[in-house]
Symmetry: C2
């Protein structure tokens, strides 16, 4: 199987030849921190062997629950925020479509809620569900995350009003702590079907647990292929050598960070990768953005944003790294037809596919941005399917852990997230 490649060709003039040599020792130490569990945050390394060690019984239960939900409902509301929704949404959009709900399909609509305090966002999802049968997946380790808990109270009432409490309880699926917390207690009392958020896997590393897999199974996504792809990555990235693409990515970005590159822009050429870029932003931003350091993660959708942030990328402050997530194959093929009148002067493109034109834009942009002073990395996948996405998720997770260790921080904590929460709870009068 052709798989992900990582290239620094368009960053050569910033990195030089054999650029990894000076950082090789550090990479070996970082790699050891991951596998010997000797680094900061080592209680949260459950994602490392997750693909190969996946609990097959749980996987089976997820598939059974998904089938049940597909039968009982035309619509599923997935409640979760941050790591409790970004992975599933990223995969749904990348593998199916950002327009998934609006396209014809045999699987239920999926709405993501519980990730905002916006009244309009909530009301609109209620309106879009309308009279359809629906089920709820609520994802929260503690059950007390405000955005998710609020949405759960509101949607649970709608469900009970519609079906009565007993049937409503059959339509609620909780992904939460294995034994404690508000949501787990509710689940026990009400008899919700539950799945576990493992103790040793943080939110941003949880896409390949029930957190991500349950919603994805409902959309008909092949979980086995997703996990097999991740397994292959697990096997490949374990190798402690300079050919390891995660070593190259983590090493290259940290070397550039030490040369005063302060931002990394993830660029991609398919709108269906937008949520993947949001998942990536959480992964890297939350893992590395601490102790007053970290490369700020931003993203641009190309070629769209070449007509927006393109000017900045080409000629702005030269503190940028650009990482291009490239996949040359769309799922559909569109060919520019002949038009003999050629009123639009576009016949130089007749017979060409959109994929071909997009690829020329990609190549031209790599050249242009490199010449403009931006080092470009390429993360290339041969096509977008479950296997490739599983590989990609793991590649980014592993690279991120390495990169954070190289920068000297704990990749797995997020102490800063509590600050606004405590202030907010005080304002809200929570004891």
């Amino acid at each position: 199987m052709k798989k992900l490649t990582f290239k620094t060709t368009y960053a050569d003039n910033f990195l030089g030849e054999n650029f990894l040599s000076p950082i090789k020792k550090e990479l070996e130490i970082a790699q050891e921190k991951i596998f010997a569990k000797t680094g900061a945050g080592s209680d949260f390394l459950g994602w490392v062997n997750l693909p190969s060690d996946y609990d097959q019984k749980e996987l089976q239960q997820i598939k059974v629950a998904a089938k049940k939900i597909q039968k009982q409902s035309q619509t599923v509301v997935v409640l979760g925020i941050g790591g409790s929704y970004l992975g599933a949404r990223a995969a749904l959009e990348a593998l199916r479509s950002p327009n998934y709900n609006q396209l014809e399909k045999k699987t239920p609509n999926i709405y993501f809620s519980g990730n905002t305090l916006s009244a309009d966002a909530f009301a609109e999802i209620v309106a879009m569900i309308g009279q359809q049968d629906f089920s709820i997946i609520v994802i929260s380790k503690s059950g007390t995350t405000t955005e998710t808990a609020v949405a759960f109270r509101l949607f649970r009432k709608l469900l009970i009003d519609k079906y009565g409490r007993q049937e409503a309880n059959q339509r609620i699926y909780a992904v939460t702590d294995k034994s404690k917390g508000v949501l787990k207690e509710m689940s026990n009392q009400e008899g919700y079907t539950t799945f576990v958020v493992p103790d040793d896997i943080g939110g941003r590393y949880s896409v390949l647990t029930a957190v991500g897999l349950l919603p994805l199974a409902i959309a008909g996504i092949n979980l086995d292929d997703l996990l097999t792809g991740a397994q292959e990555a697990q096997k490949n990235l374990k190798k402690g050598n300079l050919q390891n693409p995660a070593w190259q990515y983590a090493g290259a970005r940290q070397l550039l960070a030490r040369k005063d590159k302060t931002m990394e822009v993830l660029s991609y050429y398919q709108p269906r990768f937008r949520q993947l870029s949001e998942w990536w932003k959480q992964l890297f931003g939350e893992s590395e953005g601490k102790e007053q350091q970290g490369i700020f993660p931003a993203s641009v959708e190309l070629t769209t944003d070449l007509h927006s942030l393109g000017q900045y990328l080409q000629e702005g402050k030269r503190n940028l790294i650009e990482t291009v997530l490239w996949c040359k194959k769309s799922q559909q093929t569109i060919t520019i037809h002949e038009d003999k009148e050629n009123l639009d002067k576009l016949s130089f493109l007749s017979g060409k596919t959109l994929d071909f034109i997009n690829e020329q834009a990609f190549k031209a942009t790599l050249n242009a941005h490199q010449e403009g002073g931006v080092p470009n990395f390429i993360v290339e996948i041969p096509e977008m399917n479950e296997w490739q996405l599983g590989y990609l998720f793991y590649f980014f997770e592993f690279s991120c852990a390495l990169s954070a260790y190289l920068s000297g921080v704990n990749p797995f904590n997020q102490p800063g997230v509590e600050v606004y929460k405590q202030k907010m709870f005080k304002l809200l009068g929570k004891n």
Copy 2:
């Protein structure tokens, strides 16, 4: 009418009292460049007096065309990229909804296309249109912008196949140069209804021309209110003094840029403002990102991203400015209901509205981020409607022009955008 305010309260410890005094002289000069047309790019100042001087005859023609489109079609495809679509999309989502097409309404569906080379994105819009009657608005000054021209060729064929050439031509509306270019020539030959992209207004400043107004009129948006709000801003921001909120915003951000703040993050608390943040990113990024300088514009959706980039904002590299676009009123009101069992331990919020909780999150976050070392600006609007949005658009445009002049660059050119285009055309064999 209560209107937009700009506050630096949560940036005081970075700016100090009377912070504008040292930069007052520069602001006077920048203001004069705009009104005396003595600065770089002064051929592109048509937006300054646009609200007050709007051609009433054209406005009437836009309304007539919109009514015709509403009658002839259930769906409109708007083709344009960069400044030729971001403003309309921003306004449509802010005033109606990001879920506009999926919600019940009396006005046609609106799909934005011609802004990508993705085959999947194109094919999915075709699928969503299905058998519905549709019209096309094509927006391009030259008519040769690749993404838009390609989509136009493809959609035009669909239209001709469906209706025949004569009726198809009645369903195509072009917003283009007043006299020259490929699209203008096609329009003349085929008899499309046309509107003008003025010569003296660049794409990113064009939302209040036919570029933005025609699509918005179709969605039933009140153009008069939009322009009246912008007129009020035009009147207020003309005043050359330190109470001018645009002086405060432009002055404060440039003072912080001189203290090594290299990024500005626009944060907002309503998903419907997301596209507005994309419009803002083009406006500031394309105006200021040149000559190896410029504040990089990024955005976060809160409270959503407090569980993602929140960690970075709180504790990452301290090179950030945060500008909060705040509107305390949603269009809908949702109240957390009582639940005596209180299984979810959420009854401290019973009786509270989502707007209230969102506001406490906003206040808590301002405090938290300021304490964490990020200066926060607040751009507050009392509610989101046409008038306020017209004011807001103009406020950002004016602030951006001032800010770019303060930083010493031409606010109105975008020389860097051509670089990848030339390389791409070479790869595509265009003569």
